[in-house]
Symmetry: C2
Subunit: 362 residues, 2 copies
């Protein structure tokens, strides 16, 4: 399957697919400054928690490359400033902070001269990208076991290749099930206000030859009651230690509806999405975005000028509404406080044990 590249390093430039233009146009932004990258994240030219992490890492690498000729002190100040700027782009997805921590760790090594440190930063960003690709593949393999032949999967927003540097989170599962020969179809919520489902998920799945049908967000419950949905499968922007999951606004409502209709509700996310420092989802900061995202659609006014709007970009689904969380280390089941911790501990045991088959459902 030929997947589109969301973030790429080319000729000392961070090349970012401008997802705001999809599906009408395939346009790349050539980011030459940290500010370019920060704005691409803020304006959702690049979105999806893992892709944001990769873009931010390359943003730091870009700052390093541009400061590589400076004296070491100035180099460090410049890169630290870039990390600071990128940290202030979006508050909810934890992968952003996780990736920036890794980049800060490389900077903290204090390698000299600056040119060497810059190379190290670039290598770390490339490693984050590579790990994300591998992580997608692993999530796909673990998750595909949960999908039965003939199922229709309802998904929300875009948790596909466009949200990562690889094959996606939730959609990696769909792609892998499909490649195993399972017949799988997708119902894609359009996902207001920014329509990532209608614009991105429908486009991406169509390209991949997966049958996809778009619905408005408010049609999901009716589709469930008509037995048009076999499971719900979404990505995640941050997962607390108890499994509470922040994801695109609307996810929580789907979880409530799935619960009412006894339909399994799955989340797929790389382990970097889990914020073990947060005991519960109540501690996850929720970004509220501009009212104009709701008042206007692609520049067209759709509500009275100046009308009050509530526009939270995310919501939090309690762990007890989630049937399973698919990660790149295996599938966690409730209670998540235990199963996510067990998966986390597996981290230190290395690939040897994984190969020995001691991985999978916790």
């Amino acid at each position: 399957m030929q997947l589109v590249k969301t973030v790429e390093w080319r000729d000392a430039t961070v090349r970012i697919l401008d997802q705001r233009q999809l599906p009408s146009e395939l346009v790349y932004l050539e980011c030459r400054t940290v500010e370019d990258v920060a704005e691409a994240i803020e304006t959702l030219a690049v979105r999806g928690a893992p892709a944001i992490g990769v873009a931010a890492a390359y943003g730091v690498a870009l700052a390093g490359a541009r400061a590589a000729e400076l004296p070491d002190g100035d180099f460090r100040t410049s890169v630290a400033g870039a990390i600071d700027r990128l940290r202030r782009t979006r508050p909810t997805a934890v992968n952003l902070f996780w990736a920036l921590e890794r980049m800060a760790g490389v900077l903290d090594r204090g390698s000299e001269p600056a040119g060497v440190a810059a190379e190290e930063l670039l290598a770390e960003a490339a490693e984050i990208l590579r790990e994300d690709q591998e992580s997608c593949t692993r999530m796909g393999r673990f998750g595909a076991d949960l999908i039965e032949d003939g199922w229709t999967v309802l998904t929300h927003c875009n948790a596909g290749a466009l949200a990562t540097a690889g094959s996606g989170t939730a959609l990696a599962v769909v792609y892998e099930a499909h490649s195993r020969g399972k017949r799988v179809a997708v119902l894609a919520d359009e996902t207001r206000p920014l329509l990532q489902g209608a614009r991105l998920t429908a486009w991406e799945l169509g390209n991949a030859g997966i049958p996809v049908t778009v619905i408005c967000d408010n049609m999901a419950a009716w589709a469930m009651s008509r037995r048009l949905v076999d499971c719900v499968l979404t990505g995640a922007d941050r997962i607390a230690a108890n499994g509470d999951t922040a994801n695109k606004i609307g996810t929580y409502g789907l979880a409530v509806m799935a619960h009412y209709h006894s339909i399994p509700f799955f989340v797929a996310a790389p382990f970097s999405t889990i914020d073990a420092d947060l005991g519960t989802g109540a501690l996850i900061p929720i970004e509220e975005r501009s009212p104009d995202e709701v008042r206007e659609i692609r520049g067209q006014q759709i509500a009275p000028l100046g009308v009050a709007v509530y526009n939270p970009a995310f919501d939090v689904t309690p762990g007890d509404l989630i049937t399973a969380i698919v990660t790149d280390k295996g599938v966690a089941r409730p209670p998540y406080s235990r199963s996510l911790r067990d998966l986390a501990e597996r981290e230190d045991q290395g690939a040897g044990e994984r190969a020995a088959g001691r991985e999978g459902v916790v």
Copy 2:
């Protein structure tokens, strides 16, 4: 409160507010033929179950006025053809069929000459409009008792003055609560695909001085979990004998969410919305509309060209998820098979008994 006129008879023309242009422009269609009226209903220039009934009644009156000079046989054929044409405009709202039945009843009187029959048709349409206005006022009075001071009401689509010839169904309740001095605010779902909430409800409430905040449909569950919603209040397009309620797509999901959050879910509709011939909501025909309503927003493409779409215009909320149904004859409570029948019997007892106070909750 100055309310906008949705449907009006003027100079042998049915004047219909073109709600597709709101909130940007206040434009009236001058319908001079039955086909004009039928198209206004089909394209949702006029929408809302009660308003559709009034518009259809005037459509028949228009056919009568245009055929008033014809021989009696031709007059009857022409008017019967108009009724037939209007019957095929939209399948779900029962008020349409109810209003056309009343007009057919007047035609069946067989008054002669045609000019007299035409006058009778016009008088009947005017009576349907007058009754609708009175019905709105009565729903407002009954329903306002359910709304507590300081509440925020979540509503869906537009069940306001724009959906009727009077002050609305659900919003009549809000207007009456407001006029009694209760502090009441409204959270308006934008209501994709045609955005009646963002375009119409927000506009109408803003004009009336009621605090209104617009949200996307997928934000409702999160708003409930954050305790931003005290009750849900919607209109209805058809109500079965057991209380199962067809209304704008998305209503059912709201009922499921309200149930999960223990928030009261109210429906307001005139008694003409109740279809006692249907035992359950499973028998209500659900209109599916064009995929382009979802693929495009106000002419802007928002999904891949030709992508598959599921676009049901309505859903059915089971009576057991509805806390109360506010009608123009009183408030029905579960079990609805009994309470709606009791209210129906009240019909024959006349205004005297109502004045004596033997009305209200059943």
